[in-house]
């Protein structure tokens, strides 16, 4: 049972940071389906950094992981500028832009991983192998029966994400920047009339979403897959968007949604193992988060209220 909570949380948290990224972008008025691509590219940069640093700092050095996370954030933010350019400057259709970026990301990361590996060690591999991340347990809290699992065997990045999410919540709901950002997604005309710069706010929001998605991606690479490869693209970016939709575009309920996804995934797997089914059957259980998403969407989509101005490019001359 503990394992369900442990694994569930370690899946839910990277998903959450990606969902919060999507939320920032959408709340500012830019529909963002490119999370899948951002997380892949961010993970690429992080894994590249790790691979380059490993021989220098020694294999197994845990500091590498933190640097990788930082590089993933920066890389994701840089890559998100393409979405920003297409949506904000070129006023393209934001859904198309998102889909285009996702397709482009797969191609870009595959190509450059291969090229980088060729340059570094001569093999044209499409994987960057990552070290195993150390895990720790919080004393006392991890001894609590049942939910103690939430505090056992945690990855350090989980703490980073939790702290980040709290900061991001505060930023969005209590500060001036957050208030203006939310206003941009509802009525950018009002923000413009109030004297703030809509374009700058939206760019910032898109880059934040890129950075956060990158962090999510590299965390998945470390915890779920053990390497960076084309299998980083498993649709988790879209799961994050779905979580944001269930969460009705606010951080608290989105967190709950991510936890539900995480526990469903780990719960399903443990169920499979407990029932003694052969490993082939795990595929069926891996389907669970996606099926759950569909079902939840069926029940929850009617009531949701996306930001009113999301998806519409901001045109200053329209009054």
């Amino acid at each position: 049972m503990n394992k369900v909570f442990t694994d569930g949380l370690s899946f839910a948290l990277p998903l959450l940071i990606m969902a919060v990224g999507a939320l920032y972008s959408e709340k500012s008025g830019v529909t963002n389906l490119a999370i899948e691509g951002f997380q892949g590219v961010g993970a690429f940069f992080g894994a590249l950094a790790a691979t380059l640093l490993a021989p220098l700092m020694g294999n197994g050095n845990q500091m590498i992981i933190y640097i990788a996370i930082l590089c993933a954030a920066v890389g994701g933010a840089l890559f998100s500028c393409i979405h920003g350019l297409l949506c904000i400057r070129f006023r393209a259709n934001q859904v198309i832009s998102g889909v285009v970026i996702n397709i482009l990301s797969v191609a870009l990361t595959a190509f450059f991983t291969s090229a980088a590996n060729t340059a570094i060690n001569g093999t044209a591999s499409n994987k960057f192998v990552l070290d195993v991340s150390a895990r720790f347990s919080i004393p006392l809290l991890s001894q609590i029966p049942w939910i103690g699992g939430l505090f056992t065997n945690m990855y350090p990045f989980e703490i980073i994400i939790i702290v980040l999410v709290i900061i991001l919540w505060y930023l969005l709901n209590r500060t001036r920047f957050g208030m203006r950002l939310r206003a941009c997604g509802e009525n950018p005309q009002a923000v413009d009339a109030a004297g703030a710069n809509v374009i700058r706010i939206r760019w910032t929001a898109v880059m934040i979403s890129g950075a956060l998605s990158g962090i999510g991606g590299i965390c998945f690479a470390y915890s779920l897959i053990g390497n960076f490869s084309p299998s980083i693209y498993q649709g988790f970016g879209y799961l994050a968007i779905a979580a944001m939709i269930f969460g009705n575009w606010s951080i608290g309920p989105t967190t709950l949604a991510c936890l539900v996804f995480g526990l469903a995934k780990s719960g399903g797997l443990q169920l499979c193992i407990a029932a003694g089914l052969p490993s082939n059957y795990t595929d069926l259980f891996l389907m669970l988060p996606y099926v759950l998403t569909l079902l939840l969407l069926v029940f929850f989509s009617k009531k949701n209220h996306p930001p009113k101005a999301a998806g519409e490019p901001w045109d200053k001359s329209k009054r």
Binding site: R174, M179, E186
Partner: protein, 510 residues
């Protein structure tokens, strides 16, 4: 020391394809109410938008208190104590009144000495005080999405006062108000003037200019025509200057000649997405040859009644009978075939497909029938012939004829196309919702003439309008709608404009 607190000299502003302001020079004195009069598209809003910092002039200069200034944003303008209440309110729906007012100038604090934090409580207090001081009562913690239009306008005014505006620009402020609310607003403007503020009023309503303004500048097609002292000019003078020719204020209306009932609405109730009853148990009848006007402030259920009759919205209960047939549950197309035409409020969004051509748009009611299509295959020459016919009859100006993409046509011509298409159907019932919104006097005269023509033909006309003068001028019968209920239905001769206005406010009298 200049005699003018605001001066705009030789201002020219161009947008792609149009010169919005052409060498306009005006001077406004401190403490006066200065009106800008002109039709839609004359350039009034553009001129003031530059004063408010939303655009920069291509040529010319702006002086405040005798000093030349350049505004790059509305913050710059606000720094010179200039504020603007826009025609289309710039409000964030889910935010509270206080949040909307302080957006951009939020009172900040540092929690624990470090964390930046917007002090909403302080904002609430400040706004309470401000609203009481000027007689603009509002509750700062209400959400904008929950408050009515007149309160929203007060929020816009409070936005200006919160920023300490001394020069206040009002852009078409009375478009959405009842007569009583207009009185209230003009009183507020008078108070502000007495307080030493300078007011600039952008409007096309001459009657209001006569009531409150000191001087009036008339703009036409981007140019300044004249600046007049309001007390010394008559309504006819100002109207003629605004349009450029002599203006008629009344239409010749034949005596009513009612035929058989065409539309019967019985106990109609419509609910919105929150299950709230926006139309409550409404009943009325419209006869052939009758113009039945529903008067009411925007948002009281008029659009829902029109949509319910047209079939775009489901009726929760009640019956709609057209030409003797119960159409309550029928799909839209059935209703049209039974004898219904609909000219919607939001013409371009609802009535046209902007990226399709003119001929495709004109055929929207006919394309599925012969001769426009045979066995599911479109007959393009039928489209073209019909379009040519309508272009001729309704004087629709289009650069490439029937192949013109609708989006590239002017708003007025798109309107002509929609009205033409619907009237051509020659149905028993025509529904007009806000048919003259945003049009200039020439186009308004045209539409009124068409409405009267159809009425004389014997059609039943359901007219929904927010312009009380229009209602009084055209209607045979008036029904006043308030919060979804039809408070009174009576022949137009029996009601005065003041009475109608009172009902619009919800005052029920014996």
């Amino acid at each position: 020391m200049s005699e003018y607190i605001v001066e705009m000299r030789h201002i020219t502003k161009r947008f792609p394809g149009i010169i919005a302001n052409n060498d306009v020079s005006i001077g406004i004195r401190k403490g006066e109410v200065y009106a800008l009069l002109g039709e839609n598209g004359a350039g009034k809003s553009t001129l003031m938008s530059m004063l408010f910092g939303m655009y920069e002039p291509d040529e010319g200069e702006i002086l405040i208190d005798g000093k030349t200034v350049t505004f790059h944003s509305s913050t710059d303008a606000a720094a010179c104590s200039i504020g603007m209440v826009h025609q289309h309110f710039k409000l964030v729906e889910p935010f509270t009144i206080a949040e909307n007012i302080v957006l951009g100038v939020e009172p900040m604090e540092k929690r624990l000495g470090v964390l930046p934090w917007v002090n909403i409580r302080k904002a609430n207090e400040q706004i309470s005080e401000l609203s009481k001081a000027y007689g603009l009562e509002v509750n700062p913690t209400d959400r904008i999405e929950d408050v009515p239009v007149s309160v929203r306008q007060r929020v816009e005014i409070l936005k200006m006062l919160y920023r300490g505006a001394e020069i206040m620009i009002f852009d078409e402020p009375t478009a959405v108000l009842t007569p009583q609310e207009i009185d209230f607003l003009l009183q507020i403007i008078d108070n502000l003037r007495k307080d030493g503020k300078t007011i600039i009023l952008i409007t096309h309503k001459i009657a209001e200019i006569k009531r409150i303004a000191d001087r009036c500048a008339i703009l036409r097609q981007g140019r300044l025509i004249d600046v007049r002292d309001v007390a010394e000019s008559s309504v006819q003078d100002l109207a003629d200057l605004m349009v450029g020719r002599q203006v008629r204020f009344t239409q010749d209306k034949a005596a009513p000649n009612f035929r058989d009932p065409v539309l019967e609405v019985q106990n109609l109730t419509v609910r919105d997405e929150h299950k709230f009853e926006v139309v409550k148990d409404v009943s009325f009848t419209v006869h052939g040859g009758e113009i039945f006007a529903i008067a009411g402030v925007s948002g009281n259920g008029q659009e829902e009644i029109a949509d319910a009759i047209a079939g775009l919205v489901k009726a929760a209960s009640g019956k709609i009978i057209l030409n003797g047939k119960d159409i309550t549950g029928e799909p839209v197309r059935e209703r049209c075939l039974t004898g219904l035409s609909y000219i919607p409020e939001d013409r371009n969004a609802t009535g046209t497909i902007p990226d399709m051509t003119l001929q495709e748009n004109l055929a929207l009611r006919e394309y599925y029938k012969e001769p426009f299509s045979k066995k599911g295959i479109l007959q393009h020459d039928a489209f073209r012939r019909y379009a040519d016919q309508l272009i001729e009859t309704y004087d629709i100006r289009c650069a490439q004829g029937p192949d013109t993409v609708l989006r590239s046509m002017s708003g007025g011509n798109q309107q002509k196309a929609i009205v033409g298409r619907e009237i051509e159907e020659q149905t028993s019932l025509i529904i007009f919702v806000q048919p003259t919104r945003g049009l200039d006097i020439g186009a308004i005269e045209n539409i009124h003439r068409q409405i009267l023509q159809e009425r004389d033909r014997g059609a039943a006309i359901l007219l929904i309008s927010l312009e009380l003068e229009e209602v009084m001028m055209l209607a045979d019968t008036i029904g006043v709608l308030y919060r979804g209920e039809m408070l009174r239905i009576d022949s137009a001769e029996n009601m005065t404009m003041q009475e109608v206005g009172r009902y619009m406010m919800g005052v029920r009298e014996a």
